[in-house]
């Protein structure tokens, strides 16, 4: 199995605080990783570094066989804790704009169809004209996931996708994610709700104080030692 992501000695320093203190590891392609840890353990910073949003103090990231992250950013889907959507526009209007950024129409699919497909995939209605600002938290979260899926990415980076989402919707999102994983995508999920991913995630990655402290495929085993 080939490695989709290789990180070497990642250090991210903010003044007198380091969010990442020398992270070196590999992640295989086509698997679902749950990244767990306390607040301030560096989970979000790691995810942002993978997305190319955070310039590193030291270290390098190789993704899909290249260290030039700019050249593969079209293959990446990123969902942050905030929604990354314009509150004043409807879901469809938002996605239509982001579809332009990825120039999806050049890949042989019509913008309109693609946007409507992703919205349906997250169990929302494409014909909804309400602006996103008036959505419920759960709906907004799902629309945000739809935005991340828009360019049919090979690697998906999700930061807290289940926060403030009701249990049923969260389960549906997990099913959607495992389906994507089975279709060959590499998925990283930063979450506090590890239990939701039990049985779904291939591996649980524990972080503490800016380092990866353990990786295991069995959630129960790690929780025991904690």
């Amino acid at each position: 199995m080939s490695a989709a992501v290789i990180v070497t000695d990642l250090v991210k320093q903010f003044g007198r605080f380091a969010a990442l203190r020398g992270v070196s590891t590999e992640f295989a392609a086509g698997r679902l990783y749950a990244i767990l840890g306390d607040n301030g353990a560096g989970k979000t910073t790691l995810l942002r570094a993978l997305a190319g949003l955070t310039p590193l103090t030291r270290g390098s990231i190789s993704m899909l066989g290249t260290t030039d992250l700019r050249s593969v950013c079209g293959q990446l889907g990123y969902m942050a804790h905030p929604s990354l959507l314009y509150d004043e526009m409807s879901g469809m209007e938002n996605l239509r704009y982001f579809a332009r950024l990825y120039e999806i129409s050049d890949r042989g699919q019509n913008d309109e169809d693609r946007c409507a497909d992703v919205i349906r995939a997250v169990k929302l209605d494409p014909s909804l004209t309400r602006p996103v600002g008036q959505y419920s938290q759960g709906m907004r979260q799902r629309m945000s996931l739809a935005r991340a899926l828009l360019n049919d990415p090979k690697i998906l980076l999700l930061d807290e996708p289940f926060s403030n989402v009701d249990l049923r919707s969260a389960r549906e999102m997990v099913t959607l994610l495992t389906g994507l994983r089975d279709a060959g995508k590499t998925i990283f999920v930063v979450t506090h709700q590890a239990a939701l991913l039990e049985g779904a995630a291939d591996e649980f990655v524990w972080m503490e104080a800016g380092q990866i402290v353990s990786r295991t495929s069995d959630l129960a085993a790690t929780t025991e030692t904690k």
């Binding site: 250090v11 991210k12 320093q13 903010f14 003044g15 007198r16 605080f17 380091a18 203190r21 020398g22 310039p55 103090t57 524990w206 503490e208 104080a209 800016g210 380092q211 402290v213 353990s214 030692t225 904690k226």
Partner: protein, 233 residues
């Protein structure tokens, strides 16, 4: 390196005293302005030193943008700060000279205005460095330095034309300097440049120390064995 600093400090001190002696005693008294003209010997060298420091800042900023070299960034920071200090000296001594000679504190003449604008640009540079919250301060600062340098010729032309359009008090600057005056001026410039370099060096060492310490603090946890702590918590 450590011994070089006190030696240079002593040499600079001697040079400064000699230059002061030259400026206040040896150089002849100017006929029309009198002793007040002696302000010239620290007013002008301050300006020249400041301009050289700003030029180094520009070069260092370009080098940083191309190479992302931390040393270039520190050099840029140091030269901007010390340059502003020398520029301030120039701007403060200017009016003190102008008042008895022209009868006014300030005039919007080309050199004065240009110096003031430069001072403003570099003060905003220092403020940016102080206020930017991220680890990207060096990058933002270097970009601003490039913008500032691009601005200088435009400022120059605009003020030059502004001045020719509005009549200004005539400023005596023409006429040749007595060779002894030149001598005193150049000695003073040399002394102030050495002094400036020395200040830059101390500031640079302070910055190196601070950055090393910040890094050690940030990575402190690396020194401890992590795995045992992970288990105990």
């Amino acid at each position: 390196m450590k011994r070089a600093f006190p030696i240079l400090a002593v040499l600079t001190g001697v040079l400064l005293s000699y230059a002061m002696y030259q400026a206040l005693v040896v150089a002849p008294t100017e006929q029309t302005m009198g002793d007040v003209q002696r302000i010239f010997y620290y007013h002008v060298p301050s300006a020249w030193t400041a301009f050289i420091l700003f030029a180094i800042n520009f070069v260092a900023s370009i080098v940083y943008l191309i190479r992302r070299n931390a040393k270039a960034d520190m050099l840029a920071l140091v030269t901007a700060e010390v340059g502003v200090v020398f520029c301030t000296v120039n701007l403060v001594t200017g009016p003190i000279w102008a008042r008895p000679v022209w009868g006014i504190w300030w005039t919007w003449d080309l050199r004065l205005t240009l110096t003031l604008v430069l001072w403003l640009i570099y003060v905003s540079y220092i403020v940016l460095r102080r206020f930017s919250s991220s680890g990207q301060t060096p990058l933002l600062a270097a970009v601003l330095a490039v913008f500032g340098a691009l601005d200088v010729p435009l400022v120059y032309f605009s003020i030059w034309f502004f001045r020719t359009q509005h009549p200004q008090p005539v400023i005596g600057g023409g006429g040749s300097l007595d060779p002894r005056m030149w001598h005193a001026l150049l000695i003073n410039w040399l002394a102030f440049s050495c002094f400036g370099a020395l200040v830059c060096w101390s500031r640079y060492r302070l910055e190196v120390l601070r950055r090393d310490f910040d890094e050690t603090l940030a990575l402190e946890a690396l020194l401890e064995p992590r795995s045992s702590k992970a288990r105990s918590s």
